[in-house]
């Protein structure tokens, strides 16, 4: 802070005043509807002299008698007027449909779109606000070419991960850098109110991102929150209220089919079959008992109801002249479709701007946000104990002697031995787990802009962040896990992330001889982030307890843990832009970053970039082509980095553990990592070619980008032999490439005085490839639910490869020799033997790919890829008089989903467990009377054409094979929103300035071929390495909301 003031004082000393002949000009600014326009900036061209129009649109400015005045207002077409000694100049500003004049936020500044040399896409906040979602990232789906938004699943409060242009890192995060109002964020943007976004600008190529140096390689997302506009005091109320419900159920076996399955499972164990008959009745009675029995649909029980979602925002904004402000409070309450559970988010924000004089502007933003997410995750529990799996597997009927209603109220299945595989009523499970996560974040940003000399502006920015998350998890005595571990248990975890950031920039803008436009920026930035965590747990709470609100009631406390770490970064950067006659645009940036995380031998990284653009439209030879309104070619090349690694890797760390001598805890110390003093940034070299074309006065605007990104010196958490004492080591090794094409097309299809129809189409394809790895070695890894490795990273292929077996139907009767004396089937010689089971007719037949006669893990191959390669969005907005309608669809193709739910449920060996409906058509071993089919002939006859293995025909351990990998391509009707703005004549009588009502349907329909809930799913994210896994993913819902915007 001291430094900021010092620099500030220094700059004051540079201040120089030029005495010139001046006159006073005044006038009124009006809009297309002849209404006065407050807040318009009126500036003297080529100087920093400017004023802002008052409430009635009037202004007064002192300028040189030969000056040019520029009237500009965001979203309007700027107007230039020569003063020529006139003292009164009235102007009319009309809405600007020409996106070339759009102001684009770039790193540490803004530029006009027509001046851009890099690849930058922009989205307006008004579009994002149409999705009734809690976080900004979810609303970005399909809006930006090249931006992939991957939601884990449909859980409330969930925040999706974003990848731009494929992502170059293998083991480290590919999340872009988020910058909110100039402040880089270390931990996402979840704390923002999506309704508070003015615009989002996505920096995609190195010419744009290199200014962010070591953090720019994954792209930069610049969020600008609602800007302060001068004007009269405005009080606003925005709300929506709606209902949502799951949009899909996955069919399971009905009571009758379930009983047949149970019977078939136990047919070979006469002793146990008696128990089955006691519970479910005799096979011969199944039809009469179950044919007309609805049973219990657990999915319907768990999430079959409509739940509410609502949003309210109160805002007050105003201020004319020197001081402006904006204050709002918003509340978003989004219930989860599985109760209890949901997410409540509160945001309060104060934004103040004060112009000390024409040259100095102060601004401050205070943003407080809290979000409380409750409810147990459907992803909790592994394997057969997973919560979502229990929705499918918990049996649909009580059998005989107990009504289904009574069974639905039991805490657990009375027929299943807790000793073996306990099954809990999903409702009891949901109710007996108290899970709550409360995040509170306070951001304070202050900035000063000082135009200390003509053409020179200094900007100082200081921001601080205090953020804390408290996680509570408690299993009460009813919960099966509590029962299995001797009583209720729980844990409390508090994580605090605090930090500050400050930056100083000086920019210089000038135009020489009308043709030479020069702009220079130099700056410095410093960042500090600290992280602290504390966790306590207790278990064996007595039956009567207060949960985690009195953790002392537990009788067996765990060892409390804590963690503290900090990182810092220091950077210098500069950008130089030059354009000649608005035809030839040059742009160069360089940044030097020093980071605490990196090795003493590589503390500093340097990231240069250069770009050139040719605005051919300004060439004389194109002047005659009337329909062409823009033609620009852009070329850029540069480097940026990725520094997403844990702290302290350059040091040889000793972690602590425990060795319980004499039944007491004794602290131990042991090596935790292999130190790497040479560790440095991951570097991405990116080449981008862009083409901007505009037709018919920008009624059609087309942007095409092609890029080639190569990432080297990957920060690879390399797998190493265990003989080293470690599993992995961070090295700068390996390389990847991403090549792709992006298209953005904006069109104004119809434009009459009353009717307007606009479209935006975004499409992108990306091709990812691993170019090199440590020692050229492939590596296999497992997503966390499976013990087997099921993903493969290899040189020459894309990331995200699913690795498993190919299947070839089921073993047929004639694959076996039959021995009638003991009724056994033995595989014929020459038929490959599966090491996992002694195959029987009807068992899943995997392909012996290497032809060695044995089906074992060496027969695995690549059977899918979880990353879609073609994504896009198509938005249409219509307006007619006061009505507005928008229809937005998005899609992704080329990615696969690893249906781990289905795979987990394929092993069907547990007692009294239900399964998916497709099992009805399985290979059967019984006839219609429940008698075993023994002879080869009847067995073969009964199973002609069957492709689904018999009840135990998948073996006892799930193995990934091709049928469990499904096409994840989809097209989603993301939202349709219809609004009506009440005529001013009506509302002015009740002193309102604006009233809009609307109806929105969100996630209305998904067109896909996926058998699970939603193909847009990724429940196991180990970096980008295991995408597309669907294990226990929370079902998504369809929303219908009605909303209201009022301001007075």
């Amino acid at each position: 802070m001291k430094r900021t003031i010092l620099i500030f004082l220094l700059f004051i000393s540079f201040k120089t005043l030029y005495a010139q002949e001046v006159i006073t000009v005044s006038g009124v600014v009006r809009d297309g509807g002849n209404q006065p326009m407050p807040g318009t900036t009126i500036s003297e061209k080529g100087t920093s002299n400017k004023v802002v129009s008052a409430n009635n649109g009037s202004y007064q400015i002192k300028v040189k008698s030969n000056a040019t005045l520029v009237f500009s207002y965001l979203g309007s077409k700027p107007v230039e007027q020569l003063v020529k000694n006139k003292t009164t100049i009235d102007v009319k500003l009309v809405d600007d449909e020409n996106n070339l004049n759009e102001v684009v936020v770039v790193g540490y500044g803004t530029q006009k779109r027509s001046d851009l040399t890099g690849a930058i896409s922009s989205v307006k906040g008004t579009e994002l606000a149409k999705s009734p979602v809690q976080n900004v990232a979810s609303a970005l789906v399909g809006r930006v070419a090249g931006l992939q938004v991957a939601a884990d699943d449909g859980s409330p409060g969930g925040s999706p991960s974003i990848t731009l242009r494929g992502g170059g890192s293998i083991t480290q995060s590919n999340e872009p850098l988020y910058v909110i109002d100039g402040v880089p964020q270390t931990d996402g943007i979840n704390f923002l109110d999506p309704g508070d976004v003015e615009s989002i600008d996505v920096l995609k190529d190195a010419s744009a991102t290199a200014i962010y140096g070591a953090r720019g390689a994954n792209g930069v997302i610049l969020v600008t929150t609602k800007q302060l506009k001068p004007g009269k005091l405005t009080i606003g109320y925005d709300m929506y209220y709606g209902a949502k419900k799951a949009n899909k159920f996955i069919p399971v076996l009905n009571p009758y089919d379930f009983n047949v399955l149970v019977y078939e499972r136990f047919l070979n164990s006469p002793a146990l079959l008696a128990g089955v008959e006691n519970t479910f009745g005799k096979f011969s009675d199944y039809h009469s008992l179950y044919d007309n029995r609805a049973g219990i649909n657990w999915q319907d029980e768990m999430f079959g109801d409509w739940v509410n979602t609502q949003y309210h925002k109160f805002s007050i904004a105003g201020g004319q002249g020197e001081t402006r402000f904006n204050l709002f409070y918003s509340n978003n309450n989004d219930q989860g479709i599985i109760q209890p559970g949901g997410s409540i988010k509160n945001v309060a924000k104060l934004n103040i701007l004060h112009n000390i004089n024409k040259k100095i502007k102060l601004a401050a933003i205070v943003n407080y946000s809290d979000q409380k997410t409750t409810g147990s995750s459907t992803r909790s529990g592994t394997d057969r104990l997973n919560t979502l799996i229990s929705f499918f597997q918990y049996r649909p009927t009580s059998g005989i002697g107990l009504s289904d209603e009574d069974f639905a109220n039991l805490d657990s299945d009375p027929t299943v031995d807790v000793n073996q595989i306990p099954l809990q009523n999903p409702k009891t499970n949901a109710e007996s787990i108290l899970q709550e996560s409360l995040n509170r974040t306070l951001n304070i940003n202050t900035s000063i802009d000082y135009t200390f000399a003509d053409h020179f502006t200094y900007r100082g920015l200081v921001s601080g962040r205090i953020s804390g998350t408290k996680d509570k998890l408690f299993y009460d005595t009813r919960n099966i896990l509590a029962k299995r571990s001797g009583g209720a248990f729980g844990s409390l975890t508090q994580t605090d992330i605090n930090g500050w950031n400050y930056s100083n920039t000086v920019s210089y803008d000038n135009t020489f001889n009308k043709n030479h436009k020069v702009s220079v920026l130099v700056g410095q930035e410093q960042l500090y982030t600290s992280r602290e965590a504390f966790s306590a747990s207790n278990s064996r709470f007595p039956g009567v307890n207060l949960g985690l609100d009195n953790i002392s009631l537990g009788t067996t406390p765990g060892i409390p843990t804590s963690l503290s770490e900090a990182e810092s970064m220091l950077s210098f950067f500069s950008r130089v832009s030059y354009s000649y006659k608005d035809k030839y645009l040059f742009n160069a940036t360089v940044r030097a970053d020093g980071s605490s995380k990196f090795g003493d031998n590589n503390k500093w990284g340097y990231f240069p970039s250069a770009a050139f653009a040719w605005r051919a439209i300004n060439e004389p030879f194109l002047k005659d082509i009337k329909y062409l309104s823009d033609a620009k070619v852009r070329l850029s090349y540069g480097t940026s980095g990725n520094n997403r690694i844990p702290n302290y890797l350059m040091l040889s760390q000793l972690a602590t553990g425990n060795y319980p001598l004499n039944n007491t805890n004794n602290i131990t110390v042991y090596p935790n990592n292999i130190e790497n003093k040479d560790l440095k940034w991951e570097t991405t070299k990116s080449f981008n070619v862009g083409l901007d074309l505009g037709f018919f006065k920008q009624r059609i605007a087309l942007t095409i980008e092609a890029y080639d990104n190569r990432t080297k010196d990957l920060l690879l958490n390399t797998q190493i032999p265990y003989t080293s004492g470690f599993a992995s080591q961070f090295l700068n090794i390996g390389a990847t490439s991403n090549k792709g094409l992006e298209l953005t097309l904006n069109t104004v299809n119809v434009k009459t005085s009353n009717f307007l129809w606009n479209s935006t189409l975004t499409m992108s394809v990306n091709k990812n490839k691993v170019l090199a790895l440590s020692n050229g070695e492939d590596f296999r890894l497992s997503n966390s639910w499976a013990t087997q490795t099921d993903y493969l990273v290899q040189v020459g292929s894309a990331l995200g490869q699913m690795y498993g077996y190919r299947s070839n139907g089921v073993y047929q009767v004639n694959d076996f020799n039959y021995n009638p004396t003991n009724n056994t089937y033995t595989l014929k010689p020459g038929i490959p033997v599966d090491v996992n089971y002694a195959a029987q007719p009807g068992f899943l037949k995997l392909v012996d790919l290497n032809g060695d006669g044995v089906i074992n893990p060496s027969d695995r191959t690549v059977i899918g890829n979880g990353i879609p390669n073609f994504i896009g969005g198509f938005n249409n907005t219509f307006s007619y008089k006061g009505f507005d309608l928008s229809v937005f669809i998005n899609w992704a193709t080329g990615g696969d989903v690893y249906n781990a739910n289905r795979l987990q449920m394929s092993t069907n060996v547990s007692a009294n467990v239900n399964t998916l409906a497709y099992f009805k058509d399985r290979w059967t071993t019984i006839d219609g009377n429940g008698n075993a089919l023994t002879t080869p002939m009847v067995l073969a006859e009964a199973n002609k054409g069957k492709t689904i293995p018999k009840f135990d025909g998948y073996g006892t351990t799930p193995r990934l094979f091709d049928q469990m990998v499904e096409n994840g391509s989809f097209l989603r009707i993301n939202n349709i929103s219809l609004g009506y703005t009440l005529p001013k004549t009506w509302i002015s009588k009740v002193k309102l300035s604006n009233v809009r009502v609307y109806l929105t349907g969100y996630n209305l329909q998904v067109f896909d071929n996926y058998s699970g809930y939603d193909p847009e799913v990724s429940t196991n994210k180990t970096g980008g390495l295991t995408p597309g896994v669907d294990f226990g993913g929370y079902p998504r819902s369809r929303y219908f909301v009605a909303g209201l915007n009022v301001s007075l």
Partner: protein, 628 residues
């Protein structure tokens, strides 16, 4: 215009200069220096004896988990053998490991390999750092530091001994890993690994102080005992890369090491047998270190019953128990066989401690297995009833793994003497009979004792008859009968029954021939019984081979289920043949007896586990073991 531009540029550079000046280089350097807060920086560590102690305990920690001596290495990998197996004849998951259906991808061995090498790296750090410490080089704290150094060397040797037993020749890594180390190192031979282990352990003996330890830390005598064990393995058979089971030509040199070390331990008279075999296991189950016999244990204890520092001893290898019984759940995956139970002579007190013939149901009742279900007999040494109740966790226990107890030292002595002297000598008999003597209870010990077998059951017994024992040259034997009479609880009327069992309550002393048994009184008639004489000691005058057979059986009877059997058979080069013989015997006992290890075992392959596939993926210098 030009001057103005110059001015602009000049001021620009001024600004830049100021910025750079403000963030001058020393400030930068300080800003960007890392100082870890929640972990120690190894470069700053190893200054005090306490710090060396913590790092030494870190080496111990590597064996206190399920990957190593809480589960896989101590329980799972010992199966299947000739006296025990893992239940169910499935070949998936851990059952496949036990039943010799094993692939290199199996995660079990991978975890074990990883965890032992982690421990070795921890030991390497301590072994490298302690001699560099100021308080070591100046001699001021050398004594205590030498102890830590000795412990680290012992543990490194011990971990390699575990690895070489499981995987054969493995890479020897003897320095802590640093960033530029060559991590892809080839295998050493079995002999090279054993030589290193013997070197480490021998050095440890010199470094460690005399006397017992008060906790699970290794003592000097403990290392000597472990060295004896390692020497027997080094001198025993092991599967070589050529697919042959071979032992070194100078194998007797290794037996001589075992002989010397065991003799030293016995002469030192620091350890002895617990007078009660059962009490030893009760102590173990009650989380007490046995005051007499325990020579080296791995500490297990988790305050909440969580997985860290926990094992499955007393859960995996105990009689089956229902989760909701007061005893808590046991999985009871390890099963022994009725044939092994029958190896115990009558009167051998180890029989009913070692083998449990019952399960515990949900109401806490003990239910004996029917004859047709006797394949469910389980190890009884760590039964739930011996343990502190209720269990903290359904899956995990705090019971220590006893790596070495004095009884093993006695049996190793006997084995080494027999081998080196080409037959048993007095020391051999003395050692093995110390174990036998305790097995038949010290206070009734005689050379021979009696056993009583019921003949005709008779009838008409309403009260328990008297069993009298006469003749046979001895005295003191007593026995009681049990009858099948039933008393009506309401009327008190007694329905007469037969004699259904006779239990010897005192085996007496000095019997030289079978005494006469008479059953009198109780209102009934016709019940008869005969007595027989049981040898409690190993017969004298055996030749080398016969003594070896006796020793082989004695090791099973004494040390069953303690993590040694399979490896004993392996070093004697009879693992495959024993498994096949066991399978044949069990099938003869009952045709559908579930036991498949004999069929699955492949000589020249199954003696070793495969090198974990992951390890070979990242180290192409590692050659796979034969047959995989």
């Amino acid at each position: 215009m030009k001057t103005k531009l110059k001015y602009h540029i000049a001021s620009l550079f001024k600004c830049l200069a100021v910025v750079v000046l403000l963030s001058n280089l020393t400030a930068c350097k300080k800003t960007l220096t890392e100082e870890p807060k929640s972990v120690f920086d190894a470069d700053q560590f190893f200054t005090t004896a306490d710090e060396a102690n913590l790092a030494t305990l870190g080496v111990y920690e590597s064996m206190s988990n399920g990957n190593t001596l809480g589960f896989y290495s101590s329980i799972l990998y010992e199966n299947d053998n000739d006296i025990a197996q893992v239940r169910d004849i499935l070949t998936t998951d851990f059952r496949g490991i036990a039943h010799y259906v094993i692939t290199a991808e199996a995660v079990y061995m991978q975890s074990t390999w990883q965890t032992y090498y982690d421990g070795i790296n921890r030991a390497n750090l301590v072994i490298e750092k302690i001699p560099q410490m100021g308080i070591y080089t100046d001699g001021s704290q050398r004594k205590i530091l030498n102890r830590y150094l000795g412990e680290a060397k012992f543990l490194r040797g011990f971990y390699y001994a575990e690895l070489v037993r499981l995987f054969g020749g493995v890479p020897l890594k003897l320095t802590p890993t640093h960033s530029n180390d060559e991590l892809r190192i080839p295998k050493n031979t079995t002999a090279e690994v054993y030589n290193q282990i013997i070197k480490d352990m021998t050095e440890a003996i010199d470094l460690l102080p005399d006397g017992k330890t008060a906790d699970e830390r290794i003592s000097k005598m403990g290392v000597k005992g472990m060295l004896a064990r390692v020497a027997l393995f080094a001198g025993g058979y092991a599967l070589q890369q050529n697919g042959q089971m071979e032992r070194p030509a100078n194998y007797k040199d290794f037996y001589a090491i075992a002989q010397k070390q065991t003799k030293d331990i016995m002469d030192a008279n620091v350890y002895s047998l617990n007078p009660s075999f059962e009490q030893f296991f009760r102590n173990q189950c009650q989380l007490k270190i046995d005051p007499f016999e325990s020579m080296f244990e791995v500490a297990f204890y988790n305050i909440t019953g969580g997985t860290a520092n926990s094992g499955v001893i007393g859960q995996w290898n105990a009689p089956l128990s229902a989760a909701i019984s007061t005893y808590g759940r046991t999985n009871s995956y390890v099963k022994t066989t009725p044939l092994f139970r029958n190896m115990y002579s009558s009167g051998d007190l180890r029989k009913d401690v070692s083998v449990a013939t019952y399960q515990i149901n949900a109401t806490g009742q003990f239910l004996e297995y029917a004859a047709a279900a006797d394949n469910n007999f389980s190890p009884g040494k760590w039964r739930r009833e011996y343990q502190a109740l209720p269990p903290k966790d359904l899956n995990n226990t705090d019971i220590n793994y006893v790596v070495l107890r004095y009884a093993d030292v006695l049996l190793m002595r006997a084995e080494a003497e027999n081998e080196l002297n080409e037959g048993p000598n007095a020391a051999t008999y003395d050692a093995i009979n110390q174990v036998r003597k305790r097995a038949f209870s010290a206070d009734i010990f005689g050379k021979q004792i009696i056993n009583i077998k019921l003949g005709a059951q008779g009838s008409g017994f309403t009260t328990v008859p008297t069993v009298s024992i006469t003749g046979g040259g001895g005295t003191g034997a007593t026995a009681t009968a049990t009858i099948s009479a039933v008393t009506n609880p309401t009327t008190g009327a007694v329905t007469a029954g037969a004699v259904v069992g006779i239990k010897v309550t005192n085996f007496g002393v000095n019997y030289t021939s079978a005494p006469t048994i008479t059953i009198t009184g109780g209102g009934g008639t016709g019940a008869t019984a005969t007595a027989e004489i049981v040898d409690t000691q190993i017969p004298t005058g055996l030749n080398k081979a016969d003594f070896f057979t006796a020793l082989k059986n004695e090791r099973a009877l004494e040390l069953c289920f303690e993590g040694l059997r399979k490896y004993d058979l392996m070093r004697w080069n009879i693992l495959g043949s024993s498994l096949r013989a066991t399978e044949a015997a069990l099938k003869a006992y009952r045709a559908n007896y579930p036991y498949i290890a004999g069929t699955n075992f492949k000589d020249g392959k199954s003696e070793l586990y495969p090198i974990p596939q992951r390890e070979r993926d990242y180290n192409n210098k590692l050659i796979q073991n034969p047959g995989y």
